[in-house]
């Protein structure tokens, strides 16, 4: 698949990667409306038939894009997301009671993921601090006379990200708006697998341009590319 030397043993096949993803695990996936989600890993997880997933993602994408099929086909028991608006089947499942959804405002969600990846115990936000449903059941903390909600960090058994390039250590760079939640998701997994468009030899990426240092990345797989049709196509 590549002539790059596998100096750190991190470069594995999609099949090897999917062995690590089992029923009932928590799965954090990079991407925003499917843009920047890892297509080949998601397809392989779907094909393996993994069930009862807890999914943490910006959104549930579209029914046929990104994490969409896992949600649409009932492989996800709980989703922690900012919205499900672009995936009507997720809405249908929510109403039927076959999908539990924890909604979190988008900026709070990504900051909770960042906190999980940065080893923090929580974050203080004033978004929705007086909101009837958002503040419900959450601890409020006063700092210098201002009230904040304590929002808890998010981590997952496995984080899946999509990047433009990786070197064998797992240093990553992304592609334009496909970066979105990926650098944050990459940090927050107990185990992080990066699907990349191109694996380049060690030393080829300029240290100055690296967005995700490879220390956060456990495994690297070569992408087969997007296998869905975008909504605008």
């Amino acid at each position: 698949m590549t002539k790059v030397r596998n100096e750190y043993g991190k470069i594995i096949s999609i099949e090897q990667a999917v062995e690590k993803i089992t029923d009932g695990c928590s799965l954090m996936v990079g991407g925003f409306g499917g843009v920047g989600s890892p297509p080949s890993l998601l397809q392989a997880i779907f094909d393996k038939g993994v069930q009862q997933l807890t999914l943490i993602c910006n959104d549930t994408a579209f029914p046929h894009i990104g994490v969409g099929p896992l949600v649409s086909q009932g492989r996800v028991k709980k989703a922690i997301v900012s919205h499900i608006g672009s995936n009507p089947i997720a809405g249908k499942r929510l109403h039927e009671g076959t999908l539990e959804v924890e909604f979190c405002p988008q900026g709070v969600l990504v900051e909770r993921i960042r906190a999980g990846g940065a080893g923090l115990g929580g974050i203080l936000v004033d978004i929705g601090v007086n909101h009837e449903w958002l503040a419900k059941g959450k601890q409020t903390i006063e700092v210098d006379g201002k009230r904040f909600l304590l929002e808890l960090p998010l981590t997952a058994d496995i984080s899946l990200v999509y990047a433009k390039k990786a070197d064998p250590f797992g240093n990553l760079i992304y592609d334009k708006s496909a970066r979105n939640t990926n650098p944050l998701v990459a940090m927050a997994g107990v185990m992080t697998i990066a699907e990349v468009e191109e694996i380049v030899p060690l030393g080829e990426l300029d240290p100055e341009e690296i967005v995700t240092p490879g220390v956060f990345v456990h495994y690297i797989v070569q992408s087969y590319g997007v296998n869905w049709k975008w909504i605008w196509e």
Partner: protein, 217 residues
């Protein structure tokens, strides 16, 4: 609303955007606004991680990895930057966005905004709307004046769950333009062919009428 009406609303909203501003546009009518902003120096931000969005790409030149928050392909202008979504929301929470233009289901006379949930019908989730509504310097809501059943969307108190309270500064509908002030709603413009009487009778909140009231074509 037919396309002509949506574009008139977008055209009026475009007048609120001036050179040098950092602007975040919601989906729907707000996304039409750039069509009325030729040659202006405004930087559009998208919460997925782009500052400096340009015009839509020509057919066949779309880049799947360069999209706005709604998932549609965009281009970028000179001086644009890419960043992760946490950085995008840092800009928003820190108050660096000058204007956001959002759609609305209901707006109250105090400027409370409900734009994400219809109980028992649709539960799409709030996305980034809460942060944008609560933290942007100026919040403009563009929407139809009444809902599909002909009921007013501008009300004394929102019956739908709120996105954020006391956040809206300006409401632009197919019938009128209203400022949210400390003394309630101020009617400043009427869209032809509607008149003041019609606007008042289709608004479920008290309206003060500006002594500078204008009619717009």
């Amino acid at each position: 609303m037919d396309l002509g009406v949506r574009e008139r609303i977008a055209k009026r909203a475009a007048q609120e955007l001036i050179d040098g501003m950092i602007v975040n546009l919601g989906i729907g009518i707000p996304s039409l606004i750039p069509n009325f902003l030729r040659n202006r120096r405004i930087l559009f931000q998208a919460e997925n991680g782009v500052l400096g969005i340009g015009k839509s790409p020509a057919k066949g030149e779309e880049d799947a990895n360069l999209c706005n928050a709604a998932g549609y392909p965009v281009t970028v202008v000179s001086g644009a930057s890419y960043f992760d979504s946490a950085t995008a929301f840092a800009m928003i929470r820190k108050g660096l966005i000058d204007v956001t233009v959002l759609g609305g289901l209901q707006v109250s006379e105090q400027g409370d905004l409900a734009n994400w949930l219809v109980p028992g019908k649709r539960v799409p989730g709030v996305g980034g709307g809460m942060e944008l509504a609560q933290k942007t310097k100026k919040v403009i809501v563009v929407m139809s004046h009444v809902n599909k059943d002909g009921e007013p969307k501008i009300v004394s108190t929102c019956s739908l769950p709120l996105t954020a309270s006391r956040c809206v500064d300006l409401i632009i509908t197919d019938r009128a333009v209203m400022e949210v002030t400390d003394e309630g709603l101020l009617l400043t413009e009427i869209m032809v062919p509607y008149d003041v009487k019609d606007v008042i009778s289709h608004t479920a909140a008290p309206l003060r009428i500006s002594n500078m009231l204008k009619c717009i074509e």
